[in-house]
């Protein structure tokens, strides 16, 4: 009898300790129509690399001590330029990530899936197609404006997604809400994804879109967005060929505090990868305004680049 009482007391204490230790998840305020409030202008500036350094293996999160040391480490910026290249100095314009506030994030990489935090390889057949496409593209890389990358043409930038990812500078995201809709847009290049909230996938008429056809629904406080039908003009990360008809991106946005959300993503396409890849990063409301990044209207660089190549060809006698 005494043993039973002891056991009961132990169990009750353990239960109490569990409940005391587990903090209640953040309860976001609600819009007047009942959706969790996630609207605002956010920054996702970070020094966390997209892919995990290979030497870290499957280590997904730094310890508190390790993070304290590296939270101010220089960001590794994904870009085709190197600072010693023929380029302006990004820091002169405040465009280094380290020159702007970063969102707290003790992760070792944005990618969390696969477990090693690195992109899965393309399927062998997809890699063959991709390599061939890349070779063709490079043969004609400067033939015309239409042969330049989407980014240089100011059509679509890779970080706009889906999925979103931090982009090194001007890395702001606006979330807007109204009854039945959520809008996601990045500063660069002002593309706004108007996402209907629905009980099931709406009929998009079989029509692709540059950023796919998205629809969302709330699971508790998490907005779950599914995107399919990404246009064949867009190639996903690591591939020079587009997604197939079963390509899909799932995004999840969950408020985690009065000024923060967690953004998660999962990308899958059985024609390109044998496994899905995905990850997460936090975003934090910023007092800074999101400014217009008009791109195409000021894109002197594109015709100047083509002009330069045409001059070189003329000098070498390769064109009329």
């Amino acid at each position: 009898m005494r043993r039973l009482a002891l056991l009961a007391t132990t169990l009750l204490s353990a239960a109490a300790a569990c409940f005391a230790a587990a903090p209640l998840p953040y309860q976001a305020p609600r819009t007047s129509w009942g959706d969790p409030v996630i609207e605002g202008v956010y920054t996702n500036n970070t020094n966390v690399p997209f892919e995990r350094p290979a030497k870290l293996g499957n280590k997904a999160v730094y310890t508190a001590a390790e993070y304290a040391k590296r939270r101010n480490a220089r960001a590794v910026v994904e870009t085709t330029t190197v600072v010693t290249d023929v380029h302006y100095e990004t820091a002169d314009f405040g465009l280094d990530p380290d020159q702007s506030a970063m969102v707290t994030n003790p992760r070792t990489s944005i990618l969390t899936q696969p477990a090693n935090g690195r992109m899965p390889p393309l399927r062998p057949d997809a890699k063959a197609r991709s390599d061939a496409a890349r070779a063709r593209q490079q043969e004609h890389a400067f033939d015309s404006a239409q042969d330049r990358p989407l980014q240089e043409r100011c059509l679509l930038w890779a970080h706009e997604g889906p999925p979103l990812r931090p982009v090194g500078y001007n890395t702001l995201v606006r979330i807007a809400q109204s009854p039945g809709f959520v809008v996601l847009m990045t500063e660069m290049v002002h593309d706004a994804r108007v996402i209907p909230i629905a009980k099931s996938r709406p009929d998009f008429g079989g029509l692709p879109r540059w950023q796919g056809n998205s629809w969302g629904h709330w699971e508790g406080q998490t907005l779950v967005i599914e995107t399919t039908g990404i246009s064949g003009k867009v190639n996903p990360r690591g591939s020079a060929v587009p997604m197939g008809p079963d390509g899909k991106v799932i995004e999840k946005i969950t408020p985690t505090g009065p000024k923060t959300v967690r953004y998660e993503f999962l990308v899958s396409d059985p024609t390109l990868w044998d496994v899905s890849w995905g990850g997460e990063f936090p975003m934090e409301i910023t007092d800074d305004p999101l400014l217009e990044y008009a791109c195409h209207e000021g894109n002197y660089g594109l015709p100047n680049t083509l002009r330069g190549v045409r001059e070189e060809e003329k000098a070498r006698g390769r064109t009329r």
Partner: protein, 267 residues
Amino acid sequence: MMPTRSPLVAMRAALALLLLAAGVPARGSDVPRTAAGHPDLNGVWQVLNEANWDLEPHVATQGAVETLGAIGAVAPGVGVVEGGRIPYLPTALPQRDANREHRRTEDPEAKCYLPGVPRATYLPHPFQIVQSDTDVLIVYQFAGAVRAIAMAGHRDAPVDSWMGWSNGRWEGDTLVVDVTGLNANWLDRSGNYASETRRVTERYTPVDANHVRYEATIEDPAVFSRPWTIRMPLYRRLEPDARLMDFKCVEFAEELMYGDLRRKEAP
């Protein structure tokens, strides 16, 4: 003998017109409202007029590209300018005429430039108003143009931009938006234009659940002798699947803008 309408019907119609002119929603209207009591402007909207061809009253004329035949021709319009004509300063008219002459290559719309305010409103494309309890965002199908209307914390434009800097407030049931910091831009396909010193005041007044009365007053002492106003209805797109689609027109403008820089093989 012609049948006549009952006097009561005529009076009711006159009253509705008076109220419409005064910017007051007709009595008994079903303008949806937000929890805060303001008109709910959420939805997909579009104009039904020829303002984008030419804001002023105009007859049908040959288009800038003759090979498009009747498809490229300028549709006639009764005009949307209060008072009929845009009050250009005499010194500013030559620029308008030069614009008109070179519109095939110089119209920013042809180059897929962001259209600015108020032209974004009356392009032949829908736009969506995204209105929450606190914020208003307008997303335009044309070139993916976007405007955030600051409903609080108004500040001056930190820089000039194509879509301008918008500070909004409610005056009764009218959403009033002050737009400054706009780049110089054209106002229609006929070369009407305004400079970077312009200030635009928009007024969105719902008439009923599916119509909004839109007015825009343009003030630009560098180009016009006085402020002037355009006025037009906005119609709700009522198709059940009405939605914005992609019109990322940069790819349609590249040949026009950069075609001469294409590589030509040596003979």
